[in-house]
Symmetry: C2
Subunit: 515 residues, 2 copies
């Protein structure tokens, strides 16, 4: 057994809010991002890449807002290797307790020739110049060699040495297209260690993509070869097949720390709550057999396995559900549960709320417990999430009545309460949910487009609650909504109204700001 | 560039129907399994593990049925290392064109002590005796050393040598609990090659689990070290975090075949259709960022990436969507599309149907195209799947009328046509779908329990179709149903009726068999 004090400490750089958010369907609004950032702090990641500040005014604002609230982790903005990008990124992160500028330029022949249309010498000069430029603003600068795994060794060594001399504290080696094999990728890191004279002055970071299912394996091979930082996202979200999954790389290092002689500073017991939070705000679900955080990750179905598990859990279990914050034998909550038990469960599930909000939530819990025999964690999460996002209810459902049939056209009558006034509208469409959304649009005078719609029973059986999730687009802005009810129609209406309340709130705030 | 003729040919052993089916929520019935087996043949896997014959009469029947239809692949049944298991497995596979018996026994200290309560000598003797026993029945015998990655080297070598001498053609090295690291697992395979004198007389197989996200990486490390066979499942389904994903290990070998100096015999262009089929029959969806087969696997969102992609696709793309059977620029199908275009698309999507069924489907397609501007692949898949599973409609929806409201209790009136007679029933419940299912249960006199219920819009926008999927349990039997409609209530009713039709069909067949 090795002493844990001798383990190398790997830096965890989370890019859920930048590379993750960039993936189709994972767009988050400001309050979603703040919620995720709060979970990442609790998880004790070392660096939070909060966005790509120059990409849009919205991105700039959210990087700045996150920089304003995060205390312990460094907050980074991605910037192309251009002065205007770096200026903008610095403006966004300068208020952080630990600001970082992360700038990048491609170094592979194919990217330099076709995308950048620059020679290697031009790329070298710009990389070095922009790191110097960034260092004049910020002490903590990271430089990424985009598409490094397809770049040529001598040029890699030259650029790495140059940017370190120019002041980069971290040099990132991305496998941008997810092409690398673990053996090769580990060798690349080892070679950089061996061939770059000033390498000891910087941290080596890796950033892997999962196109061939190897992002985690590549990151781990790099750690074995001496990498100091791993870039990753919660649930592995990200473009195409996504990024290295934080939960997988962290739990692999943690479970096999003797093998790696390394570990992270992550509080693994916060993994489950963070994963659920990212699923909730993006609406992007993890599959049942997803490693670590999937619904089945700790489920043992086969008879022979159950038999072994009963004889000795270690026959089939290499880590415990508790280690990721998934309690094994939990007390079941129901109508007789008190506020204390309810508060503890909220805490376990990663919700840290003010007393007034807990009171509000406890009332809703009691109401639900009256209608259901047992209230599941998923039920509680669903309730808590609605409160935690603190959506101002500009408009509220008062009454609805829906008729659906395959003989006549479905009709929905909706009565909403808007600013204290009741407004009613009736609409017909080819389905009762379409009809309801149409009536709501007519009342509110909005032209939002429904992009995705999903409904599922949260818990099995006939007393199940239904959870509806919607993604609504209004021009470039995307809004998520979630609704819970035993009635699918009501759940759908509530989800749609939640998304529209965020939309209305942003519109109101914009008007206030302009006025 | 190496000549493809010099590449080692890796055997692909698919266990979707055994280890995959064993995972929570992935239970399949006979016709689902036959459909998956048909896709696996088209995909050209080398071995289909069709089930665990002794586990239940249903498992036995499905192994036997699959053995009866598969022509090119070997068909295996899993059997514990016991005469009664092997007899039963042989009975199930003996009718196959290429039968295989796959028997296993644990070799790790923890499994031998706590689960088997056997000494190493007893384990050795039983393994050797049972391989001999199996070889008396079947020429093709595979032996697995369960929990091999946690077993001791000298004992592994001894057992491997013993079972090969007893006639095993394939020796499988499982990482049963998903604990191995690629470097270590590759070394294990290399050591077995180096230390077992008669190893050249057998194939080395590996079987990895994904608990730490490394199943694919471990399998690939084993191939580099000389493994000849990889065991895997479509979409990586399987207990806990699942098995090695077939599509990932196959595409990694294929894309990097120069590196591995190895490839498989898989027709990669059938990967997408096979993945969709497994998702359809299990109802277990893959996440959007799943490597190879996820919805986003080939999607490029970020502006900088799109710019690069336009300049040269190779800047960000290491494999083409076409290589897995996902056509890039497809003609859009709509109301003006003819039967020929429709047939080609069906074929591309992996549906190989008789002319009469295509005619039936084409009529449904035309009907849908009248109501929607464009008909997506997902729409066609959904329609085709219903036909392909060839469910006998013992009962059919005639009419329904549903009222839902938050002011009064939802009520559903359902009229079904059963054996030519119309039967109507009305029921109230806390949601319109519950009320509808209750009315149906009353009409049919069944007591099936709804286990899971999911609804999603197949395609975005207001002319979207909804897809409902249900899992219904009747005692030990599980039935899946799927329904498509623009109305969520109708989609749910159709899904429920589809599941119940399979249930009724099995009941009818049972009575016929008994009578």
């Amino acid at each position: 057994m090795s002493d844990t004090h001798t383990l190398r400490r790997i830096t965890v750089f989370d890019t859920t809010l930048r590379d993750g958010e960039q993936s189709p369907g994972c767009t988050m609004n400001l309050r979603d991002k703040l919620l995720v950032a709060e979970h990442l702090e609790a998880l004790r990641v070392d660096v939070i890449e909060a966005g790509f500040a120059i990409a849009s005014p919205g991105d700039f604002e959210s990087v700045k807002a996150i920089a304003g609230v995060v205390k312990n982790a460094a907050v980074a903005s991605l910037c192309r290797a251009l002065p205007k990008d770096i200026d903008c990124g610095w403006e966004a992160v300068r208020g952080a307790a630990h600001p970082r500028i992360h700038t990048f330029l491609a170094t592979s022949p194919i990217h330099m020739e076709y995308k950048l249309k620059m020679t290697p010498d031009q790329v070298y000069d710009q990389a070095v110049a922009m790191v110097k430029y960034a260092r004049n603003l910020c002490a903590d600068v990271e430089f990424s060699l985009e598409d490094c795994s397809r770049s040529e060794r001598p040029f890699i060594y030259r650029v790495v040495e140059g940017v370190i001399a120019a002041g980069a504290r971290t040099v990132n080696i991305p496998d941008t297209v997810g092409y690398a094999m673990p053996e090769q990728f580990g060798q690349l890191v080892a070679d950089i260690r061996a061939h770059v004279p000033n390498i000891a002055q910087a941290h080596i970071s890796v950033h892997c993509h999962n196109d061939l299912g190897l992002a985690v394996a590549n990151s781990l091979a790099a750690v074995r070869a001496g990498a100091d930082q791993v870039e990753c996202t919660v649930n592995g979200i990200g473009e195409r097949a996504g990024n290295t999954a934080l939960e997988e790389v962290v739990m692999a290092l943690h479970t096999r720390r003797e093998f790696f002689q390394a570990d992270t500073g992550i509080d693994t017991s916060k993994i489950y709550a963070t994963s659920r939070c990212v699923t909730n705000v993006t609406g992007s679900k993890v599959q049942a057999n997803k490693a670590i955080v999937g619904e089945n990750a700790f489920a043992h179905e086969a008879g022979i396995h159950q038999h072994g598990m009963m004889a000795n859990p270690l026959t089939y279990e290499i880590m415990t559900p508790e280690s990721i914050g998934l309690p094994r034998n939990k007390m079941v909550l129901g109508k007789h549960s008190g506020r204390h038990a309810f508060e503890s469960r909220l805490d376990e599930l990663g919700f840290h709320l003010e007393a007034a909000r807990i009171t509000e939530l406890f009332a809703k819990f009691k109401d639900l417990a009256d209608r259901k025999k047992t209230v599941s964690d998923a039920d509680i999460e669903a309730l808590a999430h609605n409160i935690q996002t603190m959506i101002v209810e500009h408009v509220k459902l008062d009454r609805f009545n829906v008729t659906a049939s395959n003989a006549i056209t479905p009709v929905s009558t909706i009565r909403l309460c808007r600013d204290g006034k009741l407004v009613e509208q009736v609409a017909a469409s080819d389905g009762p949910i379409n009809a309801s959304f149409k009536a709501i649009n007519q009342i509110l005078g909005v032209k939002a487009k429904l992009e995705t719609f999903q409904l599922s029973a949260i818990t099995g059986g006939t007393d199940a609650q239904c959870e509806a999730t919607v993604r609504v687009r209004d021009g470039a802005r995307v809004f998520h909504g979630r609704g819970i009810s035993k009635d699918v129609i009501e759940a759908s209406i509530l989800a749609y109204l939640q998304a529209l309340n965020v939309l209305l709130d942003e519109t109101v705030q914009k008007k206030t700001a302009e006025g």
